[in-house]
Symmetry: C2
Subunit: 432 residues, 2 copies
Amino acid sequence: MSQPLKIGIAGLGNVGASVFRLLADNAQLLRDRTGCDIRVTAVSARTRGKNRDIDLSSVAWHDNPVAVASNPDVDVVVELIGGADGAAHEVVKTALSLNKPVVTANKALLGKRGAEILSLLKASTGTLSFEAAVAGGIPIIKALREGLAANNINGVYGILNGTCNFILSDMSRTGRAFGDVLKEAQDKGYAEADPSFDIDGVDAAHKLSILSGLAFGCVPDVEHIEIRGIRKITALDIAFAADLGFKIKLLGIARRTARGIEQSVEPCLVPKDSPIAAVEGPLNAVYVDGDFVGKVLLMGAGAGGNATASAVVSDIVDIARGRALPLMGMDAGKIGPLKSANIRERIGSYYVRLMVLDQPGVIADISAILRDHKVSLESVLQRGRDPHQAVPVILTTHDTTEESIQQVAAEIGRLKTSVEPPYLMRIEEFKS
Amino acid sequence: MSQPLKIGIAGLGNVGASVFRLLADNAQLLRDRTGCDIRVTAVSARTRGKNRDIDLSSVAWHDNPVAVASNPDVDVVVELIGGADGAAHEVVKTALSLNKPVVTANKALLGKRGAEILSLLKASTGTLSFEAAVAGGIPIIKALREGLAANNINGVYGILNGTCNFILSDMSRTGRAFGDVLKEAQDKGYAEADPSFDIDGVDAAHKLSILSGLAFGCVPDVEHIEIRGIRKITALDIAFAADLGFKIKLLGIARRTARGIEQSVEPCLVPKDSPIAAVEGPLNAVYVDGDFVGKVLLMGAGAGGNATASAVVSDIVDIARGRALPLMGMDAGKIGPLKSANIRERIGSYYVRLMVLDQPGVIADISAILRDHKVSLESVLQRGRDPHQAVPVILTTHDTTEESIQQVAAEIGRLKTSVEPPYLMRIEEFKS
């Protein structure tokens, strides 16, 4: 039995308290698996008195989280404060300056300060582990960096935000409107009071930037992700998609192309009998497409204290076993900026929802615009008729460029018969 | 850049040739990810002249595979011969006696000689890595031993044999009989000329024993697995299961219970809208159920040269990074024999297919037997009527013990009106 490994936890929210509990509950198991005692020696949180159902009596308390990092009785610093700036940033900087390994669940920090973190790591013998930053308990970081390390990665994509998947699943099951489902999710605590971080795709984009960095050996770069949220999806879209054989999922997608790395977060239509369509509720699911392995899917709880604690402690186990890896799975000197592909040049098929006046000549006008941009139709759907009133018309296209379909949408939107801007979604045929 | 890592490959079948090709094709990537050159220096196979589409000109050839292990110009021995005995066994023994790390895809060796391998490892500074032994390219060994290492594992289960899943998927899609589909699979090379290793569940059992060993920290023990294959499944079962809302999948299941570890390989009914039901064709899929993480699913190619090579090389990458782990993820001294639960005591619900004469009193006789054994019915299905001829009757039960349902089946089988032995399958309600 080697020396005990002394853990400091900065941040005792849901995840922090779960980490504390896991380390206590599974202490014997962890001792068996690592050969050493893993012991929490110091913690910090905003409110000392709060009831967290954990026993802090033998642990040093710091009001200032940075003091956890600098406490000489702490070997490994677990940062669970969150956010790219402020205390979380200070804790990480301090720990690395003291050459201590850091374990974090902080996707914003990595997504927005990837380059800075890499340069801090170059000057430190510390490491930064972040299994918990993406997809909660799912060991996707380990899969990308180790389990599938033999592969050139063609793409990584999936359901990265449980709140959005919960909302879309519920809309699909009940036929209710987006706003109603969101409100209920907020009332039940599944969605935040300010939901924009989730439903506008920002959270998924932070996670995708990290997956992309690992997959392609580059600095996480959230700036070059095309981000489209789920606010505009209507019950009608869900119903039309179902008629066409699809479900709608918010996907983060990063693909290697000849033009560079294509990165987007957006609602997509996926075939309803595909495994990813079967991922319902608050789960996450991530595909990795490698040149030798083909497509591998990992699915599980993408959030929640216990699942995320599982990921945090798996990183601690690696450190206890002396097995922490470089941030992006290779020497920092080999990590360059991401070469981003122009999203307007990407190719794919699209779902287009129009709201147009039901009068003669409308479809002829639309068809002419499609023809002028060389976009060919797969199907046209119209439900019911209502002369001279607005009716929804759904188009699905064959492969086209994003540029062409955006121009088509803009021109259709300018028709006098068009009563609202066309709404576009990608159709992603995940075969596996 | 450190010293090159010199690889010897014993066995150049489909997987061996793919490993050779991967190491050549992705050499630069592997150099970036490990910081060292990974170089094949020696190989062995049965037939030297065979065209494998790989360049062996700068590699030592050995007719005797054991010579690969003992070649001083080999640092890591990759055993891809297969089988629990003979050459594979000799290669592994020789390599470990020389303190060399071994990488293998050999599930039979681990499933049947787990205790011996553990004792060889105790006397060696070598290691044995086996990501490729279970579920091909899916990094399930790494997930269990590392990514989910913080958890006490409640169970591990899934689709572990691609051939069986291919056959069952095809039966489900086409409505054809088992024999027809098997024959076509054999003609196309998806199933072996002697298919019993796959379709009788033996291959899945070897894999399950390894997963079980990792999950529960014990010696892999294929002897205590209840094994039932897929030969008796009829097109009728597939159709009735579909009517009841299920698909049939061959599952390997290992569960921790108060009575010990329950291990079985058997065809089960799974809800048709569950993610595992969406796993079609030759894919594999494995659930790990941990006390903190909940249920995590990994899915991907369970066989094939390239996918399996991905797993073999991920083990080589770990060795190159100086990160090989003890066999079962903990010190060999902590690994004991598996405490096996008696399968007759397990509890669950069942599908029972009867073939009985369509005459008055039959259902009353069956009902009396069920009542006597306290087995309560969920549903009874009969399709069509054919007085005094044999007709299929499908029962589904509520929770009962295996003991009770087996007694029920035996007693029904002894009724004069029963024209063939009842056929039983478990109903597994995977929720996730």
